[in-house]
Amino acid sequence: MKENKSVLKKITDSREASLLIVLIVLCIVISLRSPSFMTLKSISDMLKNNAVIMIMTLGMLGVLLIGGIDISIASTLAFSGMSVGMLMKYGMVQNTFVLFLIAIGIGALCGLLIGLIISRGKVLPIIATMGFMYIYRGLAYIIANSQWASAENLGTFKDFALGSVLGVNNVIIVMVICYIIFFIVMKWTKVGRMVYAVGSNREAAQISGINTANVELMVYTVMGTLSGLCGALAVSIYSSAQPNMLYGREMDVIAACVIGGVSMTGGRGSVAGALLGSLILAIIAKALPLVGIEAIAQNTVKGVIILVVIVLNVITQRVMDKNNLKGREM
């Protein structure tokens, strides 16, 4: 009996669980209006088409956990994606694996630089990344030199996003691997817990011997690395590299985290939350055209849904707190 109660309490107490409920309700409502939504193919399409945002959400989780923010990620992505595209276009590198390594390397360097400026130069993350948002985007334009890399130039590279292993698309596999790695690292390893520690109480972390500056550096480097990876993925998925790739989409990534219950002041948030948050956004994007909302109103509806979800989160949290208080004996 007591066990049962605590299980129930666990569910109502956990943000992830309440998000899961939101997610399920969303899915049911959408399936009622559009039966094709719940098919395997539709879901696979959705995951593939949102993989880039979903992967970057992981990096952003780390950044937000230590109380930082990174609004340069879409620019980093464009820079690395464009680099890969240009390398292929001019036939300098053709090997898909090498190209991915290059993209990841570029992203890692971009992130490392940001991390250095933030952790060593003590520049506030929003300012530093705002600067780099302009810089990396500008670099993407400069290396593009008014050229795009298109399907024709991308040879076998674009096949990566088409291929599959055991029926699961490569892109989705990459995403799942990222999620599994993050899940394990954040929950089961020292490094992951250090990120939580720094975000929860930086001073304490310092005193207990954690090199907070290095954790900060690491988090931004990982963010950059993932953005770089996503640059290559995006080029492969859409068979096209353009310097304005994912312009402004960093906000979607941040929104996905916040919807998933990641605190913007640090210390709170989980991989499961990031997954649910980005899934909710992906579902909204997928469903809006399916359920037949007027095209012109789609943005408004999207905005309203985001606002409603975050406000609902607060309200349920308040109700939960209140219930907890009721339970406390006087």
């Binding site: 559009s34 008014s146 399907a151 859409y238 068979s239 310097p243 994007a285 055209p289 095209a295």
Partner: protein, 352 residues
């Protein structure tokens, strides 16, 4: 440089024919027809819609080539963002520099009016190319292809590809994009106008906001919603690219046409089942830029004023006449849209 895209291309026009064409414009015109001369020595600016876009770049290249050949100075300006706001700053800057003319591809029909009026007040000649401003803020519009002609060409393509009947859909950029809407409306008109289109059913106009991800979502939604869909027509370069990729990857039986860049679409154009797009249309951006340059020069040296009925010779591109445009202003038309198919795509994909 290939310039065969424009159907108006009448081959190597000699200078004689050009003076013929401009005989009503008097002495100034003589100079203008005189392959450059002093008239070309001014400063001519072209303002594109956005940076980093090969189409815009080719237009600018065409523009620059003509101006420089005529001995003038060409200024190519890309705005910092693809918005009218950003173009206002660009125009203001050009006024400060005291250029002789501005040839602009407007990001918004209306929002450049104040800036362009100011430019015209300052004695700067203003013409538009690619996408126009309202008549108050231009002297003439260099139209890449008539709206009517584009609508007709696309509609016929849909008819042809669908085999004469069935469901089709449009994948556009944003629901607010003016030229997209004009073309879509033109297609609808064409469809009403003749019985041969009666077997076609336009099921939806979807909008991908010129974002690959959203366009992909929209294409997939179309496929899911309409299992009997036969053709998608995407009169936007980003949209057609995303749709082509989706259809080709899924080996869908749905076929695609629309307006797209040959370099971007080369992979998808072909007659067989392996390719999603049998053919599509576009105009030649280089010629568009060249015509913009000739028009700018003609405006500056007074050969034309932008009034209906003005005629001039655009160097080796031949003669052009200014006609009334639907919006009450004037325009000249580069030519009919050019068809890209399996036969010619290879020679075009490296051009733009």
């Amino acid at each position: 440089v290939g310039c065969g895209g424009g159907n108006n291309d009448s081959g190597n026009t000699d200078s004689g024919s050009s003076s013929e064409a401009t005989d009503d414009a008097g002495g100034d015109a003589e100079d203008a027809g005189d392959e450059g001369g002093e008239s070309g020595s001014g400063t001519y600016a072209i303002v594109t819609k956005s940076a980093g876009n090969p189409f815009n770049e080719k237009t600018a290249d065409g523009f620059q080539e003509v101006i420089e050949a005529a001995g003038g100075t060409a200024i190519v300006k890309h705005p910092e963002a693809p918005t009218a706001d950003a173009q206002v700053s660009v125009i203001q800057s050009l006024i400060s520099q005291g250029v002789d003319s501005i040839c602009i591809a407007a990001n918004d029909e209306n929002a450049l009016q104040a800036a362009l009026e100011e430019a015209m007040d300052a004695g700067i000649k203003v013409c538009c190319e690619d996408s126009k401003t309202n008549p108050d803020s231009r002297q003439v519009f260099v139209n890449q292809a008539g709206v009517q002609e584009i609508g007709q060409a696309l509609m016929d393509a849909v008819l042809d590809i669908s085999g004469g009947e069935g469901q089709w859909a449009v994948l556009s950029a944003t629901s607010q994009a003016a030229n997209q809407n004009a073309w879509i409306d033109a297609m609808k008109e064409v469809m009403e106008s003749d019985d041969k289109y009666s077997g076609l059913e336009l099921v939806e106009v979807a909008y991908g906001d010129d974002e690959p991800q959203k366009s992909t979502d929209q294409t997939q939604a179309l496929l899911a919603k309409y299992p009997d869909l036969k053709v998608i027509c995407a009169p936007t370069t980003v949209g057609i690219n995303a749709a082509a990729k989706v259809l080709q990857d899924e080996k869908s039986s749905v076929k695609l046409t629309g307006l797209g860049l040959p370099s971007e679409m080369a992979e998808y154009i072909g007659d067989d089942d392996d390719h999603s797009c049998p053919y599509m249309y576009l105009w030649n951006p280089i010629d568009l830029g060249r015509l913009g340059a000739y028009t700018s020069m003609a405006l500056v040296d007074g050969t034309i004023t932008g009034a209906e009925g003005d005629k001039f010779t655009a160097g080796d591109m031949g003669d052009y006449e200014i006609v009334a445009a639907d919006d009450g202003g004037t325009e000249m038309i580069l030519g009919a849209p050019f068809k890209f198919d399996a036969d010619n795509i290879d020679e075009w994909k490296d051009v733009y």
